[in-house]
């Protein structure tokens, strides 16, 4: 295994870089778009503050449809969109488009779930103090749900790493693609094992960081 590690060191580093770009951008999309979307899902739900049946139904359908796509097919289906946004459907940057779409849908659900765990009384107290919508969201909801939000993002990030492994089909590269091309297709089992070990280490680090952060943030 040491031999193959040395032999493919350069490719490995490049693959790790590609994985980071793909996962990093989709995590960014998850926070910037998935968090507001999840908050909207939460507020529109039956029995919540801004209950809105039609909006809730629309958003839920969209999120469910995206999540029910087998990911590989979503990548293919989104090719026109990717081409429109990035100019090309091939390469690492292009690969981030379908990955981000899934990321937003995926994380928004987890955000909705975390917010549902905030006691209704907290919202009541916020309103009784005259909090506006934004104050309610930032000073009460996100504050109380913060460890759940972090744990959700951790779980999401790990899923995104897994999703990113199939991005080889559109030339996205990444550790998974490296494992398939060099390890599987060229019958270098050691290289495949090497890539898998790298993924395992990556996931362990992310989970440990996320769990620790969530624990430190939770004072309830």
């Amino acid at each position: 295994m040491w031999d193959s590690m040395l032999k493919y060191q350069e490719q490995m580093w490049q693959s790790i870089g590609e994985t980071f770009v793909m996962v990093g951008i989709s995590v960014g999309a998850a926070v910037l778009l998935g968090l507001p979307l999840g908050t909207l899902l939460y507020f529109c739900r039956k029995g919540q503050l801004y209950e809105n049946r039609s909006l809730s139904l629309t958003l839920n359908s969209i999120v469910n449809i995206i999540r029910s796509f087998p990911f590989l097919l979503l990548v293919v289906a989104l090719i026109p969109v990717t081409r429109f946004l990035v100019g090309t459907a091939i390469g690492t940057v292009a690969a981030t488009v379908p990955l981000s779409v899934v990321a937003v849908a995926y994380y928004s659900r987890l955000v909705e779930q975390s917010l549902l765990e905030v006691p209704k009384g907290t919202i009541e107290a916020a309103l009784s103090m005259g909090a506006s919508k934004f104050e309610l969201i930032f000073k009460f909801l996100y504050k109380e749900a913060r460890s759940g939000l972090v744990l959700g993002l951790t779980a999401s990030t790990i899923s995104f790493i897994s999703f990113s492994t199939v991005m080889g089909v559109v030339g996205g590269g990444g550790v998974g693609d490296f494992a398939i091309r060099y390890g599987y297709q060229r019958f270098e089992t050691e290289v495949m094992a090497y890539a898998i070990v790298v993924m395992i280490v990556l996931v362990q680090i992310i989970q440990f960081t996320g769990s620790t952060a969530a624990r430190l943030l939770d004072k309830r």
């Binding site: 006691p119 009384g121 907290t122 009541e124 107290a125 309103l127 009784s128 103090m129 005259g130 909090a131 506006s132 104050e135 000073k139 009460f140 504050k143 109380e144 913060r146 460890s147 943030l217 939770d218 004072k219 309830r220």
Partner: protein
Amino acid sequence: MNLLERPDKGTVTVGGKELTALPEKQLRRERQKIGMIFQHFNLVGNATVSCNVAIPLELAGVKREERLKRVAEVLDYVGLADKAQQYPAQLSGGQRQRVAIARALANSPQLLLCDEPTSALDPGTTADILGVLKDINAALGVTIVIVTHELDVVRSICNEVSVMKDGEIVDSFSREEHEFLPPAGHSGSYRQQITGKAGEDHVG
């Protein structure tokens, strides 16, 4: 009364302002002048005691320096100055309700709404919280509205009573018209409160 629940009909007027007629933004400003405490305290668990008390001041746009001063003042008033940097989870029920009271008083309201303020507390702590409420009314001149099913609470600190059933007031009377019976008493041991007789301690 602060329109967390909108009435099906009729109007709500507090301090001369008809809340039911106010648009959202003004209603929020009026709510900032009405303190409220709850049966389950409803503190922000991820904020320290002093941060909790500071929230209504932040919402009202009070400057940082003034905020810190006011937080220290009200925490001192409820006797929790030493717990300022702790989190609600580290406090007992009675202490949490005191924090909630401090939070409700932070904006110096004229009116304090109490939704079953002692229903989740044991008898000794109840007496303690009622003492604080009584003092707020007497010393600070804050009008207090209490919703409760605990008649001892009514007997110990209320002056005017309205009995409600199915959303309507079915009876009203005051301490002036009729003397209230003394409260069953929250002092003494549990044995004393239950049997009326003082017992000997089993443990020395």
